[in-house]
């Protein structure tokens, strides 16, 4: 126990004694052993630390911070160390399950490359300093005495929510109007816009479990899109009898595509055409009512026939027919669009066309439910995207940003070269990185403030995807901080705020005290009669605070949900002059690049976690490296073999990686997974593989201005080298031996 540098008293000082005892009460989880039970059977330490019983693991609830889905987690704590994370069974989001990335949060916490010491840039080099020195530097940059125009300060973060966002906004206000840019490479900006335009709310719930057939355009909802664990829980029920049928239309097979009954290899950028063709087929063969659609779209349906679609989308007419048939006969259906479908110049139109299928099939209000915004807008997630990053870059390059406060994002890695983040960041005089690791961005910073890991800090969060009634997820420390010279982001923000407004923030010793106070301030009606302490402790035990919505869902949305051609919908379709693009061949760059979202490494932020590096990719089974996915027919045409090192070149750049051949990718596409190619991100990530994001063209979605990830055309050139791929497993097929048995649904008696 005493091997940690931070002693128990420091821990208590940070978390607050109340917090610790509350956390103790939180151990009363269904799967826990309580202290009372354990007490009789253990030999205590000579000098026992309170609440630690040797040999007894206690589970504490918290919230996963690996992505913004906000899954509830429980962490097993034994002898003061957190050992394992599991899903919180009472969380409505993940119902006890947890994805591989969430479980690997432990390796963020225990990562050998975590920053232990603040750093300041002196004479071009980052030098280790004490926290006090680093904070003093921060103070002189953005403190009241800095004399800086507040509007020259900018936040550059990932998606933030909860009181972290509240405090960031408070800092912005205190310094005098700092701007806030949130950047996420994998985002739903386009989908949110379509949802707002079509369904009347950017927040919709996809009732996967209730559907009998699902058609997903590019949305890898089981792995990288939306709330994957929640969707997977629902998917499990979806496959229960009566078994739902899943159709996935995407250019490169994702985890979700791998589970599809029918996988449609749509040519990149023609998802909208495919959606319209299915709509036309539904109207023509299955009696769907075209008048449900806005006129501008209904009029166009005639242009989409199965045959012309096949030439455009590359999907065989018979498969489209089958898909339409499933949707028509297996009601209720659900059409989801996102991910690669939205990542094109006309992604908005493609997603809209898919949304129209929901309208046509009458799913709105049944399997797709628009919901109100989070009742406390100050806590609601500020969702990131690349459009905001581009705006930041533009402003920075214009010399209008003096201080950038960077947290939870790594634009120097994720931004395409065309955005020239290096120039943008170097135009910023003082870059402050709040981070746990030295990555591409923080290594460019002038002040590096090492943060507590998520296992060490308090927090509140609001999930980007609302699965049920609104709630605030609670994050509590699962163990003492490993390092003395790290602080939580909340504490640091409070410290900054105290510089400006000692009266308001002074009473809060730390972020914990602040949060505790905030919860106390929750109106009694929301606590449903519970005392303040009971409400707080229940929150800690469950890892979430239920908040009662102050207002019901707007009546307008409720109506829109059932009214097939809502006003908003008609307006949107008509005003934008709904036009779908025609697939154009490009002689110099014949193939479309899919920078594939990785189910293991996300957009690259998990590349420093060894479990995830060694976890094989679901589709290719490749580990530790990058690869280029290609259709065997394409490879045959260009003369490539499995394992060939090729150069994938766009007009903007190129990457070199080995080829993996499979038939789960459109012939006109190549896919390079995101996540690798770090130049600075610790021992597990640095110098490994390639980063396809760098070579992207800065084509944007016309309607939203969001970067179109899949709009880059590339050519593939051999380098003449061939090596065996580093992957798990030998044979690609079962060679006739029954390992995975498959039966057709006809054989499956429907109950």
């Amino acid at each position: 126990m005493s091997t940690y540098k931070v002693k128990r008293r420091d821990f208590l000082k940070i978390t607050g004694l109340t917090g610790a005892s509350a956390a103790l009460a939180a151990c009363d989880m269904p799967t826990t052993v309580t202290l009372e039970e354990g007490e009789e059977e253990v030999v205590s330490y000579l000098m026992p630390e309170e609440y630690v019983i040797p040999g007894i693991g206690v589970w504490y609830a918290s919230t996963c911070q690996q992505c913004d889905a906000g899954c509830g987690i429980i962490g097993r704590v034994r002898e003061g160390r957190v050992l394992k994370l599991e899903g919180n069974p009472v969380s409505p989001i993940n119902k006890g399950a947890l994805c591989q990335i969430g479980q690997a949060a432990l390796q963020v916490h225990y990562n050998p490359d975590r920053l232990k010491q603040p750093k300041l840039r002196q004479e071009g080099k980052l030098i280790d300093v004490t926290w006090d020195d680093a904070f003093a530097a921060l103070k002189s940059s953005i403190g009241p005495d800095s004399g800086l125009d507040g509007s020259r300060i900018a936040w550059l973060t990932g998606t933030v929510s909860g009181h972290q966002r509240v405090l960031m906004d408070a800092v912005s206000e205190a310094v005098g109007g700092a701007s806030h840019y949130a950047h996420e490479t994998l985002n739903d900006t386009v989908v949110d816009k379509v949802n707002a335009d079509v369904y009347g709310s950017a927040n919709v719930q996809y009732k996967i479990a209730d559907a009998q057939s699902i058609l997903s355009f590019g949305a890898d909802f089981l792995s990288t899109w939306g709330s994957p664990v929640h969707n997977s829980v629902q998917y499990g029920q979806f496959r229960d009898a009566p078994r739902g049928v899943l159709i996935q239309a995407e250019p490169k097979m994702t985890v979700t595509g791998g589970s599809a009954d029918l996988w449609l290899p749509v040519r990149p950028g023609t998802e909208g055409t495919l959606a319209m063709t299915i709509a036309a087929e539904l109207v023509a063969s299955h009696g769907a009512d075209a008048t449900k659609l806005p006129k501008a779209m209904a009029d166009q349906l005639g242009q989409y026939s199965l045959d012309s679609s096949e030439a455009q989308t590359g999907v065989a007419a018979s498969l489209v027919k089958q898909a339409a048939n499933f949707l028509a006969t297996r009601a209720p259906s659900l059409v989801i669009a996102g991910g690669t479908a939205a990542a094109h110049e006309h992604g908005y139109e493609a997603v809209t066309a898919a949304a129209m299928l929901n309208v046509l099939l009458g799913n709105v209000g049944k399997t797709i439910i628009p919901v109100a915004d989070f009742p406390y807008p100050a806590l609601a997630p500020k969702k990131g995207d690349t459009a905001q990053l581009a705006a930041f870059a533009k402003k920075a390059k214009a010399g209008d940003i003096s201080v950038a406060l960077i947290a939870g994002t790594n634009p120097a890695y994720t931004a395409p070269d065309q955005l020239d983040m290096a120039a943008a960041l170097s135009a910023v005089k003082v870059k402050v990185a709040f981070t746990e690791f030295l990555d591409e961005t923080s290594s460019m910073a002038d002040i590096v403030l090492p943060l507590h890991s998520d296992m060490e800090s308090w927090g509140t969060h609001v999930a980007s995807y609302q699965v049920a009634d609104p709630m605030i997820s609670l994050q509590q420390p699962l163990m003492e901080p490993l390092y003395a010279e790290t602080r939580s982001l909340g504490d640091t923000l409070l410290d900054v705020l105290k510089l400006y407004n000692a009266e308001q923030y002074g009473p809060f010793a730390d972020y914990y005290a602040y949060l505790r106070n905030v919860v106390s301030a929750v109106p009694a009606v929301a606590k449903e009669g519970a005392s303040d302490e009971a409400y707080w402790q229940a929150g800690l035990q469950q890892g979430m605070l239920k908040v009662t919505a102050p207002k019901p869902f707007p009546a307008a949305i409720a109506t829109a949900a059932n009214d097939d051609a809502s006003d908003a919908l008609v307006k949107s379709a008509d005003t934008m002059g709904f036009v779908l693009p025609v697939y154009e061949k490009n002689k110099d760059y014949p193939l479309s690049l899919i920078p594939a979202a990785s189910s293991r490494l996300g957009d690259g932020r998990f590349a420093n976690l060894p479990w995830l590096q060694e976890a094989p990719d679901a589709i290719t089974k490749i580990v530790w490296n990058s690869w280029v996915e290609m259709h065997p027919a394409t490879a045959l045409y260009y003369g490539f073999k499995q394992g060939d090192f090729v150069e994938v070149a766009s007009a903007e750049g190129s990457v070199k990686a080995q080829i993996y051949l499979h038939k789960g990718i459109n012939k006109d596409a190549v896919a390079v997974p995101m996540g690798q190619g770090h130049t600075e991100y610790g021992r597990y990530a640095t110098g490994r593989g390639v980063n396809p994001l760098k070579m992207l063209a800065t084509t944007s979605d016309v309607q939203t201005g969001e970067l179109a990830l899949c709009a880059t055309r590339v050519t593939v050139v051999s380098t003449g080298r061939n090596e065996e791929l580093v992957k798990m497993g030998g044979s690609e097929s079962q060679v006739g031996r029954k390992l995975v048995g498959t039966i057709t649904a006809d054989q499956l008696r429907r109950v």
């Binding site: 497993g729 030998g730 044979s731 060679v735 006739g736 390992l739």
Partner: protein, 470 residues
């Protein structure tokens, strides 16, 4: 001269002289050979020390190739141990007296190849410091080895066979050691005095000697056959395709005799050349050995065909696919090479012209041994590369660590053998004399030679007199 197995008029004093000469005064080439062997062993020792410290990883062993060259070479050396028993015990019992000039070094080969083979299980296991756990030693915890495991049978079989063959070699040498004792001085004399166990060559000693020798021979024959059958059960008792083969026991025994006979030919030619033992290791004997090898090669070929055929008509898809993979997959060059060497090359042994040509025979015998080594590799590895579970299909090539240890094992064997030929008579003097005696009587029309103890005893006694008289 080329028609007789041995010149029966060879004076017995000459026999003693020739053989004793081969044991004395090593020449430069001998020391070079010793140094080469030690260098080879050093490679292996270095590799093994590294492997001991780091683990089995650097050997390129992997999932699913848990076994590889170590086990293949283990079987190879076990196989090498068989013809010594064949020559000394089986041919002894069936009264094929042409074996007499060459059985001693064959027997030594048996013992030394077992001593080499025995190293491999130790080298190959992950925690060799716990090797003794496979033996049923007394343990207070009451822990026994698993008697159902073929590896435990191996441990019993090999240790028994090693003990027995060493004893057999030693017992068969006693009369010769007495001759050595009587004709040497210094440390040799002391050594031979102890080892000859007070041999005086009287009738009682000869009678007991004969009985013991015959008994050991009878004991050794089933043992030799069972040892390789048991080694084959390492594979035959498993469930894996390509291993779970009913014909494996005879197949292994045939392969063992095959490689061993080829090795005998190699050593035959070397000894004959280096020690100028042309009078003893005669061409007719080589021809007989070659014929024997050829016969065994055909048995081996037949057993191969049986295996292929039964896999084919047995119609077990897994076995069949493995066989096809052997013929066409990554290992196919080696598999074809093995079939070519094992079944086609031996036809050189059928040619009278070729089999009397010593350099050719040397090359052929070495090639045959290479083929037999490939056979063992092709038994062990392709099955691991392509078993039941397609996800575990893989191809793996051994690393330098494995090669170094395999290479070094030849040095180890060579060193033991080199020491043997300078310390012990590599030709059985008393049996050669017996052979000459019987051949002479045959030539004189006295009748077929008797193996009665008295006759032989007389022969050796006579030899002593002969020697003294010269």
């Amino acid at each position: 001269m080329h028609t007789k197995d041995i010149n029966e008029n060879l004076p017995w004093s000459q026999i003693n002289k020739d053989v004793m000469r081969s044991m004395m005064n090593p020449r430069k080439a001998y020391w070079v050979a010793i140094i080469v062997c030690i260098a080879m062993i050093s490679c292996a020792v270095a590799a093994e020390v590294y492997q001991y410290n780091v683990g089995m990883g650097p050997a390129n062993l992997n999932w699913p190739h848990m076994w590889d060259l170590y086990i293949a070479t283990f079987i190879f050396w076990i196989g090498m141990s068989h013809p010594g028993t064949l020559l000394s015990a089986i041919l002894h019992i069936i009264h094929a007296d042409w074996r007499k000039p060459i059985y001693r070094f064959a027997e030594a080969m048996t013992t030394f190849s077992l001593m080499t083979a025995g190293l491999f299980p130790v080298i190959h296991i992950g925690r060799l410091w716990n090797m003794y756990w496979v033996l049923p030693y007394y343990s207070d915890r009451g822990i026994w080895p698993n008697f159902r495991s073929p590896l435990v049978w191996d441990a019993f079989a090999i240790s028994t066979y090693l003990t027995s063959s060493a004893l057999f070699l030693f017992i068969g040498m006693i009369p010769d050691l007495a001759i050595c004792r009587d004709n040497t001085t210094g440390w040799r004399r002391k050594l031979y005095t102890i080892l000859s166990l007070g041999w005086r060559g009287d009738d009682r000693q000869w009678r007991n000697f004969r009985r013991t020798y015959l008994l050991m021979a009878c004991f050794l024959i089933p043992l030799a056959v069972s040892v390789h059958s048991i080694v084959s059960s390492d594979f035959a008792m498993s469930v894996m395709p390509g291993w779970h083969v009913t014909t494996f026991p005879p197949y292994f025994v045939a392969g063992a005799l095959y490689s061993g006979c080829a090795a005998i030919m190699t050593l035959f030619i070397c000894l004959r050349y280096f020690f100028r033992l042309e009078d003893y290791m005669t061409i007719p004997i080589l021809v007989k050995t070659a014929k024997l090898t050829f016969a065994i090669a055909m048995v081996w070929t037949y057993l191969n065909l049986i295996e292929f055929a039964s896999i084919w008509y047995g119609h077990n898809a897994v076995d069949k696919e493995l066989l096809i993979a052997k013929f066409t997959g990554a290992y196919s060059p080696y598999f074809w090479m093995m079939l070519f060497i094992g079944s086609v090359v031996p036809f050189t042994l059928a040619s009278e012209k070729l089999r009397t040509h010593l350099p050719t025979m040397l090359v052929v015998s070495l090639v045959l041994n290479l083929g037999m080594w490939l056979e063992r590799w092709m038994i062990v590895t392709p099955t691991l590369s392509q078993g039941y579970h397609p996800f575990a299909f893989d191809v793996m090539w051994p690393s330098m660590i494995q090669w170094a240890i395999v290479f070094g094992s030849f040095g180890w064997f060579g060193l033991l053998f080199l020491i043997f030929v300078k310390v012990f008579p590599c030709v059985s003097m008393y049996e050669v004399k017996e052979m000459c005696y019987h051949r002479k009587r045959e030539a004189m029309g006295v009748g077929h030679g008797s193996h009665a103890a008295g006759g032989a005893a007389g022969a050796v006694t006579a030899s002593k007199t002969d020697l003294e008289g010269s």
